[in-house]
């Protein structure tokens, strides 16, 4: 398939060129061209997948179905938005002397490698290759996070590198265990880690080994997603990294890591009752959601605020996947899309605010609507979308998740399997209502925290010495488009995206 080739070659080529080209306008042009090619090939892939179903390409190396096509759509959309935003953002940093012009090469090189690694992680047929690609995203992004080379950014980058590498190593142990179990069924073949080989025989794999493998993989990739309690790198990294990088981390990388967990779950669910994986996902989801909701309340740094909001929303999506069923799974996937758009918009706004006000303290930012009207609008829209208010699409997806939760409850396999230690005396209905109440309470906390901070930043008069008015740049284009998409998806979901979501849901439900 040509589209797949383009998707793999474009970032590689762009990365190579970025190292030798020196004019910044050329660097940006290469970046945009590569992202454009990526989006174009994704559209082709989406059409193919929707009409023909799952396909393999490049000699079994690539496996594409509606789920991976859906993830590719998110990578392409957010990636393109970032590329436009970087045009004005990076140029201003160079002009202000924050970074030397020569370091722009490194920035773009790492950025392209980051995108390439994410694409490979999404299209790879082998879960082993997927692991290699996800570890590669850690390596590509650690210097992007530490790009400003301040003490704080070095600290954030080091923390990220160490925590994620360790987490990812645990995931590799999970992959080894999967291979260990598949060898007994498939024999010693070089393709025993391929999804196309594993899925048909998954029900014959050893359930003990798969359970253990899933726990390792969930903890490992969960570190990349930023699930509590493996989240401690995330707020630091999101505060210190350049805004376009954070938009990619929060909007795309988290989604790719969730995707890796979901792929593994598809295999494990064949051999083990899906309540096992669902219970674990819901447990981590709840831990993340509730913890993050409380941390949102006490933040006084707007980048950290958005970081905790990321943890919160990943928790919601995980609860959706954990509860399962058509509604929960659909809601979880849809929430991933909404969060990717809203969070990248929020970090674009945060990047603009930081460049103007030179502070990350919420208390020092006031009167945004006068100082930067466009940014104020973006901040408000992303804030409302992140607190899941109607008419935003995130309201719909959060409703789907909580409806599924209230109707089905959390699968309780993990409770009964540790029954000796934990006696559950609550009746089923009580626990369902109770969990839904906890969910709503946390949602209200997060809503209050976000909206209170946002309004404080947007209204009022700007402090002395802050320039007023906003000059239109190319960086405003993605802000407008993302805002339109966020509002629009609540009313009308484009048919191809809806079809992708529906098919991905049925893939995850193993229909």
């Amino acid at each position: 398939m040509i589209a797949v080739m383009v998707m793999l070659i474009a970032p590689t080529l762009a990365g190579g060129l970025s190292l030798v080209v020196h004019r910044s306008s050329l660097l940006h042009a290469i970046n945009l061209a590569s992202m454009g090619a990526l989006v174009a090939s994704e559209i082709m892939i989406t059409r193919t997948v929707l009409s023909e179903g799952p396909v393999t390409a490049l000699g079994q190396f690539v496996y594409l179905d509606a789920l991976s096509a859906f993830i590719l759509v998110i990578i392409g959309a957010v990636g393109l938005a970032c590329s436009f935003y970087m045009r004005s953002y990076m140029d201003e940093q160079v002009a202000r002397g924050v970074i030397a012009p020569t370091r722009l090469n490194l920035f773009f090189f790492l950025f392209h490698m980051f995108v390439l690694a994410m694409v490979i992680a999404t299209v790879a047929n082998s879960v082993g290759v997927q692991w290699v690609a996800i570890e590669a995203t850690t390596l590509a992004t650690t210097f992007l996070i530490a790009f400003w080379r301040r003490r704080e950014s070095l600290e954030a980058g080091w923390k990220y590198l160490i925590l994620c590498s360790v987490g990812i190593s645990l995931a590799l142990f999970g992959v080894v265990l999967t291979y260990y179990s598949s060898l007994h069924v498939l024999g010693d073949v070089s393709q025993a880690l391929n999804l196309t080989q594993l899925l048909p025989v998954a029900d014959r794999l050893n359930p003990h080994v798969l359970k253990l493998a899933f726990i390792f993989i969930l903890v490992g990739y969960g570190t990349k997603v930023g699930l509590v309690p493996m989240h401690s790198w995330l707020p630091d990294a999101y505060t210190e990294a350049p805004a376009p990088v954070v938009a990619m981390l929060a909007g795309v990388l988290e989604v790719v890591a969730v995707y890796a967990v979901l792929r593994m779950r598809m295999i494990v669910d064949h051999a083990v009752p899906s309540t096992f994986t669902g219970g674990l996902l819901a447990l981590l989801g709840f831990a993340s959601f509730v913890t993050a909701a409380f941390f949102i309340l006490i933040q006084h740094n707007y980048k950290r605020l958005f970081a905790y909001s990321s943890i919160e929303h990943m928790g919601i999506a995980m609860i959706g996947f954990g509860v399962g069923g058509t509604l929960g799974t659909f809601g979880g996937l849809f929430h991933l899309l909404n969060h990717a758009f809203a969070k990248s918009l929020a970090f674009f706004a945060a990047g603009n605010i930081h460049r103007r006000f030179h502070t990350v303290e919420i208390g020092h930012v006031q009167g945004l609507v006068i100082a930067q009207p466009w940014t104020a609008m973006a901040l408000m829209i992303s804030g409302l979308a992140l607190s899941a208010l109607p008419p935003f699409a995130s309201f719909a997806s959060e409703m789907q998740v909580i409806t599924a939760l209230a109707a089905q409850g959390v699968p309780g396999m993990w409770l009964s399997s540790t029954g000796g230690m934990m006696t559950v005396t609550l009746s089923d209905q009580f626990s369902r209502v109770g969990l839904a109440a906890v969910f709503l309470l946390s949602a209200v906390l997060a809503f209050g925290g976000l909206i209170y901070r946002m309004t404080g930043m947007v209204w009022g008069t700007p402090p002395e010495g802050v320039a007023r008015g906003e000059i239109w740049t190319l960086g405003h284009l993605p802000i407008i488009l993302l805002a339109v998409a966020l509002v629009g998806f609540g009313f009308f979901l484009p048919p191809p995206i809806r079809q992708l979501l529906e098919q991905a849901t049925s893939i995850l439900l193993l229909d």
């Binding site: 692991w131 160490i162 360790v166 260990y180 010693d188 880690l193 707020p235 630091d236």
Partner: protein, 221 residues
């Protein structure tokens, strides 16, 4: 042939045990350069194990993995780490979060935990390399513990590399090597990760005048 494979199995068990033993030595060692040496020694044992498995099972692609381990983990990474240590102003781990005897006791507990976790799945494996999976898990856990217990960036990195060694032992001994493309990718990632961590250590040294990660406390709630 049965005698040969019996001896082979014994040898693999011996090598795995030696790998585990070097883990304990690393936990007990305070000098940074000695930690790196011990890591290199552990990697040598790993090469021997991989070569034995390759010879006894006839899976020739494991030879490639063994050779790569030799080049990357016995030669390149220790050299890079030695260079980094030369630049540092501290050669010893002065403050440890957990003292040596307690650390060794905890590691003993971790080994028991690993065997306990692996118990249900050990009977699945082939006769040749039965206990290696449990030992591999133990090494991974001890590596993780080293990263938590130590404060110097270099020793944390050694802990990470020990974890990787454990993973590689698991992949080679228990499953006779992963598919070659995956193995190559893993080696590439480990090499780059070690190099990046080396660069970081230098930058941390420049920025904080120390590689003590306990200085990294600017960012918190």
């Amino acid at each position: 042939m049965p005698i040969l494979s019996q001896i082979g199995s014994q040898l693999i068990d011996l090598c795995s045990a030696l790998l585990l033993l070097t883990c304990f030595a690393i936990v007990a060692q305070r000098r940074l350069s000695a930690c790196v040496d011990l890591f290199a020694l552990q990697s040598v044992f790993l090469v021997v194990t991989a070569a034995l498995v390759a010879y006894l099972t006839g899976n020739h692609h494991i030879y490639i993995a063994a050779a790569l381990t030799g080049v990357i983990k016995v030669v390149i990474i220790p050299r890079v780490l030695k260079k980094v240590i030369e630049r540092l102003n501290v050669k010893r781990e002065l403050v440890m979060n957990v003292n040596v005897p307690a650390g060794l006791l905890i590691c003993g507990g971790l080994v028991m935990l690993a065997f306990f976790i692996a118990q249900p799945i050990i009977p699945l494996g082939n006769i040749l390399t039965r206990d290696s999976l449990a030992i591999a898990l133990a090494i991974v856990l001890i590596g993780l513990f080293t990263m938590i217990a130590r404060q110097k960036a270099v020793t944390q990195l050694v802990g990470f590399l020990v974890m990787e060694n454990g993973l590689f032992l698991g992949a080679t001994a228990a499953t006779h090597g992963m598919p070659l493309i995956v193995e190559l990718g893993v080696f590439f990632d480990v090499l780059i990760a070690a190099l990046i961590a080396g660069i970081y250590t230098n930058r941390l040294q420049d920025a904080f005048d120390s590689v003590d990660t306990s200085h990294l406390t600017v960012l918190k709630e």
